[in-house]
Symmetry: C2
Subunit: 311 residues, 2 copies
């Protein structure tokens, strides 16, 4: 009861924070029991991601703006990975300073910084008190064609990565040493940039976003497709950004392939493509699909669940 | 990397736990980057709710099964409150014992205990480590008619409550005294039962679920509709369950109207209905809608934001 007016005030503020000027199919947005979207001829695509303080992010390094932006990035990437167009978000946030309007505002602004870029609208949410900041975002998207599944890779396909992975891990390695430069590397960890994989969507036989690390996600695809993924260090080394990343790894006494293969949190896309669609415009070609029972190999050596082996 | 197989195992287990035998429009369920639902001619209705340990529930009193069931209940109630039919759930869970398969299984079973009843399918989720258990559920529903909004109450309408509120608050009062009887009262708090408001949906001019307490939710409707809600203690006292609740309140030295008006967490429905649709089958008639600027009155006395006044 004591909250009626402040609650109404909060809802009004959230409505303002999430008000967009682009056209949407939203009939009822924030403020009723649930949101209502007009009917559509498209398939509905839906995914949820959760991020927890001290597990997925550290408030020492990340602002509420960055935390909101980063989870939104991960979330929209999952929609793109199905070949779909993200449209709507529902945001549940648990924060310790529920009465600190600055935190709520900054979280909302961070979410919008990514959502606006793709004309995605926040249609609902829930706010709760929580000792550790916890954010859970559901993304809804639309799909007019068939979804691009993890299970669609075919023997003979080429394996593409939309951008070279590892920079986010490099940024984390720098932050872990209590350093904050080179800035563009730290930024890659704190503010990963999402680029819609428009060209890959048109031709991919299988696809996923690279959030858990290239090796893990490649293993997901090869396992789901029941084929072997043959990655090549030589091909990976030919990526334009490889040289800078390798130098940075050397400086920090880390293994550059460890970053590239197991780093995670880059939010790029991994896809397989028929040979007839080979093109530099798709990203970095890092290997090819061979016959097999779902194994992941690097230069012919299997990468097992024990992880990428240093050597 | 180290998690590939156990992750695949976990996903397989969650797929099993959430596998249903009833017919759905799910094209891609748990296990890819996102779920895909076939296109539908209906409007899409969406809502999210979050529950945090020690804020919304206490693990001393509630099992993971009960926690999952209760949040699902709250979540589906929001979909019904729009006049829609719940169809799908996405579940994000943060738990401290991520490797404790028992907790995950029990949470899932609790969610299903409610979801199955309404033929609702879990299509996706995310699991994270979290010191305090945190659960966030997104419900998606379908709506073929126009939504029932909070803003639709008209002067002259009758106000109905689908069941008498207050029993959940009574249960909490008992638990707070470290007692556990009468059991049906404690159960009302730990295991609230959701009944779809089928009859109200057909005739309601405005509706919401009563999760924040009757007074708060009635104020939401009167405020959104810009009319006055005139509630009557006399009418409320005529509810079949009132006598038992009043006796229990007396025993515990509490105010029965405090429980009824501000208790919360009952997950019943509050709606307004045109006089021509008056019927005992709609629930308990607790008042009527009058001209005004969005006030909530009990026996002619305004209930202000300072809360229901004891007297």
């Amino acid at each position: 009861m004591a909250l009626i007016e402040s609650e109404a005030g909060l809802i009004a503020r959230l409505r303002d924070l999430f008000h967009t000027s682009f056209q949407t199919q939203v009939q009822v947005g924030i403020g009723d029991d649930a949101a209502v979207i007009k009917s559509s001829n498209n398939k509905l695509v839906a995914t949820v991601d959760m991020a927890v303080e001290d597990i997925h992010f550290n408030k020492k390094w990340s602002t509420p703006f960055q935390i909101g932006a980063k989870l939104t990035t991960a979330n929209l990437a999952d929609i793109f990975a199905m070949g779909a167009i993200p449209k709507y978000l529902l945001v549940a946030a648990g924060i310790s300073e529920l009465n600190n309007s600055e935190t709520v505002t900054e979280l909302a602004k961070g979410i919008r910084s990514v959502a606006d870029k793709f004309e995605v609208t926040v249609i609902g949410g829930d706010l709760s008190k929580s000792e550790k900041m916890t954010l859970s975002i559901t993304a809804l998207g639309e799909l007019s064609a068939q979804p691009i599944l993890r299970s669609g890779a075919r023997v003979g396909d080429l394996i593409y990565l939309s951008s070279l992975t590892g920079l986010s891990a490099a940024g984390l390695a720098i932050l872990n040493r209590e350093l904050d430069r080179p800035r563009y590397v730290v930024e890659a960890h704190l503010n990963p940039k999402l680029v819609a994989p428009d060209k890959l969507i048109k031709v991919a036989t299988s696809m996923c976003d690279v959030s858990d690390g290239l090796a893990t996600d490649a293993a997901h695809l090869s396992y789901a497709s029941n084929v072997n993924f043959n990655l090549s260090k030589d091909l990976i080394s030919q990526a334009a950004d490889f040289k800078d990343l390798a130098e940075l790894a050397k400086e920090l006494n880390e293994d550059v392939f460890d970053w590239i293969l197991t780093g995670g949190e880059d939010h790029f896309f991994l896809a397989t493509v028929g040979k007839e669609n080979e093109s530099n415009e798709l990203g970095i070609q890092i290997g090819s699909v061979g016959k097999g029972e779902g194994k992941l190999l690097l230069d012919g050596v299997e990468i097992k669940k024990t992880g990428y082996q240093h050597f």
